[in-house]
């Protein structure tokens, strides 16, 4: 059993597994949406003093924060006890495209050292890029009203037109970053 779980999971295992988690959340009377936790964390941190937007009762969302803490533990368990599947099986073209941008050994680690390594986060540019990435994610998720979980998976499953528009937006932004901005940044 543990040997089967320890293999890298193919898409047809990972996708349905996500749906199983989503099902259980709804079955227990809750919902599936990760980015709303960012809002709850702001509220818990006292953001209500600066904006009425955060004047909410965070206790009703505590279950989701517990879910998020579980996700951290799940990441720890998977990486320490369920074997590490590195390097991942990337398209050779992806590896060579990244090499052109200055990213070496693509796929040998979970995240590139060129962005997340000690040297990178010791520079203003490195910290700035990570901060900027996070800023766009947080700002964009709340503006759009959801992220990959709430819009791409729940919203599209539930045939919501706004979610389809949001996902078109996600890919528009992602393609602009990857195809246009990456060659300028790196």
């Amino acid at each position: 059993m543990i040997e089967i779980i320890s293999q890298p999971w193919q898409w047809y295992v990972a996708g349905p597994s996500i749906v199983a988690v989503m099902f259980l959340l709804y079955f227990f009377g809750k919902s599936f949406g990760v980015s709303s936790n960012l809002e709850t964390l702001c509220t818990m941190g006292g953001a209500g003093r600066f904006s009425d937007y955060f004047k909410k009762d965070w206790k009703v969302n505590l279950w989701n924060i517990v879910f998020l803490m579980g996700a951290v533990i799940g990441g720890f368990i998977a990486s320490n006890y369920l074997s590490v599947d590195l390097p991942i099986n990337l398209n050779p073209q992806t590896i060579s495209d990244l090499s052109v941008l200055g990213f070496e050994n693509a796929g040998d680690t979970v995240v590139p050292s060129e962005l997340f390594g000690m040297e990178a986060i010791g520079s203003v540019k490195g910290i700035g890029l990570l901060l900027m990435g996070g800023l766009c994610i947080g700002f964009g998720a709340r503006w759009a009203g959801g992220c990959t979980s709430g819009h791409a998976i729940v919203g599209m499953s539930n045939l919501q037109i706004p979610s389809l528009i949001a996902v078109v937006g996600f890919f528009t932004g992602g393609i602009i970053m990857t195809w246009v901005l990456f060659p300028l940044i790196f």
């Binding site: 990760v34 517990v66 579980g70 800023l135 709340r142 499953s157």
Partner: protein, 138 residues
């Protein structure tokens, strides 16, 4: 307290899926936006396909929740401007950081501590949205 344990366990399962499915890999996100692999499309596509069947069973009342009530998944706010503009901003960040809000936290468990800078940025972004949302098109 006890009622929260199941959500913690579901979170653990979610974190394992994200890690084992390589969904926390920055490189997989790059590869997806370059259209060089089916992996991410397969994950999202199979989740949406199977999810659609599940939502249908919820709507028809065939699957009820643990309390025996009909499961209602609220409709999303029908405003295209916020979905599109917010979506584009989100996508820029998703491609740059190579992680969306779930994987961000799973990466802490994977020992990628510099992701905390991304999380700090995401909290700041959420705060700025809350502060200035009245001035944004929705």
């Amino acid at each position: 307290m006890m009622k929260y344990i199941k959500f913690g366990l579901l979170g653990i399962v979610f974190g394992i899926i994200m890690t084992k499915g390589e969904l926390i890999s920055w490189f997989r996100i790059y590869e997806m936006f370059k259209f060089q692999s089916f992996h991410m499309y397969g994950v999202i596509g199979s989740a949406v396909g199977l999810g659609a069947i599940l939502m249908l069973l919820f709507r028809k009342g065939i699957i009820k929740n643990v309390y025996g009530d009909k499961i209602i998944v609220p409709a999303k706010d029908f405003k295209w401007k916020r979905a599109l503009f917010g979506g584009i901003i989100f996508g820029l960040g998703w491609a740059l950081a190579g992680a969306c809000p779930g994987p961000m936290f799973v990466l802490i468990g994977n020992g990628v501590f510099s992701i905390l800078i991304v999380i700090f940025g995401a909290l700041l972004g959420t705060f700025l949205y809350g502060k200035f949302q009245k001035h944004l098109p929705h």
